[in-house]
Amino acid sequence: DAGVTQSPTHLIKTRGQQVTLRCSPKSGHDTVSWYQQALGQGPQFIFQYYEEEERQRGNFPDRFSGHQFPNYSSELNVNALLLGDSALYLCASSIWGDRNYGYTFGSGTRLTVV
């Protein structure tokens, strides 16, 4: 049973560019959440997708957008990259509405903006 798969593992981009990160949720999970973890910090919630719609969003600018596909996989897009966007981006999958089940996280994508 595959866990959460994220790609790519590492990415280097230049300021102003755009980036797309991908996530495949754990089998049986239908909800995908994205988190940003800056160096030395805890993960910060970006947004959450269920049934191909953004259901809730954290305090991130519109440069951060996402998408969920019918097979529950998801993409995170970041436009007009800033140096401060350098971070580990984590994808977490879960079951919509299940209050007593932990989230399964992927290994993350390390984004470096130069």
Binding site: V4, Y35, F45, A92, R99, Y103, F105, S107
Partner: protein
């Protein structure tokens, strides 16, 4: 902020000793979860304790929750060098019946010396 905050920020012990990490939070929660992260990689779910539970065990892990004090503790008994990692508490806060998300603290860096 609804973040959990871990204490101490760093903990250094010898193999065989017990490690205790504390977490405080500010708002009502559905459950509280502890995660481990090795070298800035993905988060590994360790244990979940529901808001109506006071103590939970899993192998060498013991978690307590005091909702009146809005605090939790994670005890790792008989620590091993392989336990060296960052440990995060995350509060699972829900809006309504379906919108749940995690709030993380900055974590405790545990180093276990052989």
């Amino acid at each position: 902020s609804q973040q959990g905050e871990e204490d101490p920020q760093a903990l250094s012990i010898q193999e065989g000793e017990n490690a205790t990490m504390n977490c405080s939070y500010k708002t009502s929660i559905n459950n509280l979860q502890w995660y481990r992260q090795n070298s800035g990689r993905g988060l590994v779910h360790l244990i979940l304790i529901r808001s109506n539970e006071r103590e939970k065990h899993s192998g060498r892990l013991r978690v307590t929750l005091d909702t009146s004090k809005k605090s939790s503790s994670l005890l790792i008994t008989a620590s091993r060098a392989a336990d060296t990692a960052s440990y995060f508490c995350a509060t699972d806060v829900w809006r309504g019946s379906t919108l749940g998300r995690l709030y993380f603290g900055r974590g405790t860096q545990l180093t276990v010396w052989p």
